[in-house]
């Protein structure tokens, strides 16, 4: 196949090119890398926050060529800029569609140089979302007898590469790093999954509720993200609790619903999973309706019912490459450690959840 013919086909039949993707190399992910420096006035000292992840940390917004400027890690960088009175370079090395193994291998390991700069102070990562999405898609398409192995495989892979990612960061991030933090996963499509399967359980012979089936698996993933964090010197931003529980006491148990959902250091997997899947199940809400009070709610999820909402503009990131830029912070002071929009968008909430662990000094 000569170049002339390939060029003609690509120009005249772009759809055929995409057909070719599936046959050539199973290319199904998209690197979306962004660097944004929060440029604080009156200082030239600059520190770095490095974020590795998939489409969540990428700031994916339903475009293949751009992504949100203020995705969660960059939101956190804005908080850090105010806390340290310094410029903060937010570097996001992300790959939309990547499973945990891919994020580990091609981002954390393959692009480790970013966290090896002496200016690095914070390293954060998130993963496993695509393991979950793919397992969910696979399970939903099953007929006959339900095969739960796809869910267990996703869980095991998640655990393996979360642990490996933490070990690798511990061994390779610059010694100046002051904070290592993972974000766990919210449940995208929580309401949409409240349907019956096509397959039938081997024991009961009945179809199963998708949400009831998936929730414990996600809970186990999230448990091990936070538990490995505890074991390996990381902090764990509990995005599941932040997104899925209300910021008021909806069930009258004396606790703010979102607080009650949080991982408790030292609890067992069984305890955590039981709390999430059973005891506190009635307090869970789809993050399309995040209640910040009993009379106010915000939509934390974009129209694809998967990715977090965000505020503001976008940057080039995707099929035409990535981009970098610099600009003044949107907010320069934070009352009570919170920006005016801290709870109004998914990425703002996740970024705030990261920021609570920011060390007082660099």
């Amino acid at each position: 196949m000569n170049y002339t013919m390939r060029k003609a086909v690509r120009t005249l039949l772009p759809a055929a090119l995409l057909l070719g993707l599936g046959l050539q190399a199973q290319a199904n992910t998209l690197n979306q890398n962004v660097s944004w420096t929060v440029d604080r006035s009156g200082t030239s000292t600059k520190y770095r926050v490095v974020a590795y992840g998939d489409s969540i940390y990428a700031g994916y917004n339903g475009s293949v060529s751009n992504a949100a400027r203020y995705a969660a890690p960059t939101v956190d960088s804005e908080y850090l800029s105010a806390l340290w009175n310094a410029d903060i370079e937010s570097i996001r090395r992300a790959k939309s569609g990547a499973v945990a193994q891919d994020v580990y291998q091609n981002k954390i390991v393959g692009e480790r140089s970013y966290m090896q700069a002496s200016s690095t102070r914070v390293v954060t990562f998130e993963m496993c979302g695509n393991d979950g999405l793919q397992a969910r898609s696979s399970f939903k398409s099953q007929t006959g007898t339900c095969n739960y192995s796809v869910l267990n495989n996703a869980l095991n892979s998640c655990k393996t590469y979360v642990a490996a990612g933490m070990d690798y960061i511990n061994a390779n991030a610059h010694p100046n790093t002051r904070l290592k933090v993972i974000s766990n996963l919210y449940y995208p499509g929580y309401n949409a999954d409240n349907v019956q399967s096509s397959c039938r359980d081997a024991t009961t012979g009945q179809t199963v509720n998708m949400r009831t089936t998936f929730l414990p698996v996600l809970a186990k993933m999230n448990y091990w993200m936070c538990e490995y964090a505890r074991q390996k010197g990381f902090k764990c931003a509990d995005s599941f609790a932040q997104y899925m529980g209300a910021d008021h006491d909806g069930n009258g148990d004396g606790q703010i619903d979102a607080e009650a959902l949080r991982y408790v250091a030292g609890e067992s997997e069984a305890s955590y999973v039981n709390r999430i899947s059973n005891t506190l199940r009635p307090t869970l809400r789809d993050a399309n309706f995040k209640f910040v009070s009993s009379s106010t709610s915000y939509d934390y999820i974009q129209s694809d019912d998967v990715h977090p909402t965000y505020s503001g503009t976008t940057m080039t990131a995707g099929i035409w490459g990535g981009s970098s830029g610099t600009g003044a912070p949107r907010y320069s002071s934070f009352s009570g450690g919170k920006s005016p929009i801290w709870n109004r968008f998914g990425h703002e909430r996740m970024g705030w959840a990261l920021s609570v662990y920011n060390p007082a000094t660099p």
Binding site: L18, N61, D102, A164, T316, A328
Partner: protein, 242 residues
Amino acid sequence: MSSAGQQAADPHPVVDDDGVRWLRQPGSANWRNLVLLVSVLSGFAVLVSLLHAPAPRTEPSAARGLPAVPADPPVPISTRGPPESVPPPVPTVAGPEPADPSLPPQWQPTTATADDWPSSDLNDIARYISPADPEPTAAELIHALRQTGEYGGIAAFNPPGTSPPLVGIAVPEDFELPPGYVRHYQSTDDGQPIEAILMYAPEHRFYDADGNEIEIPEDRVVPADRLPAGLLPRAVEIPAAD
């Protein structure tokens, strides 16, 4: 990281009000209707097969150890990922990628890092799209991948618009909500806030003058003919994409 690897580098970058230095991207044409793709699918099967590049000389990462895409109608992903007993992963880093003779000179990868365009990552869709190609929407890309039988990666995403913003009656910020109502805020996929709409609070029950429970809509959006006193029936407008 700049996209300096692109062919059509802009010698006169624009600096916007935020101090961001923008490199202009090649212009993109409107994406063709994929109905044309479906209708000529079989006719181009042979042509597409001619695009098949030589197999890569190395497999840089086990991340791409996915089953081959079947030629028949899409089959669901059966099992992907490692078995339950997973050996400890060994970090590997790909060496410099050798030249691919099937690619034109300007598309040859020059280094092994992900900073360069075109991407050296074999599983990056960007690697297979040149500046001369029109830009697909995410929905088109997801659909096209699924048409090839690929349901992993971004093909596992829902397309935009799967759960669009709810349309309802605007609730001014200074309107005092009666019990049982909620002010719900949304935003567009391109980051624009949407004015709050009026919704019923979950689990709150409403009764008529006779004490009969009033059924509320499943989506909890308050219809224009059932507004609380003092609220004007003004529909919220969803901002157009920037």
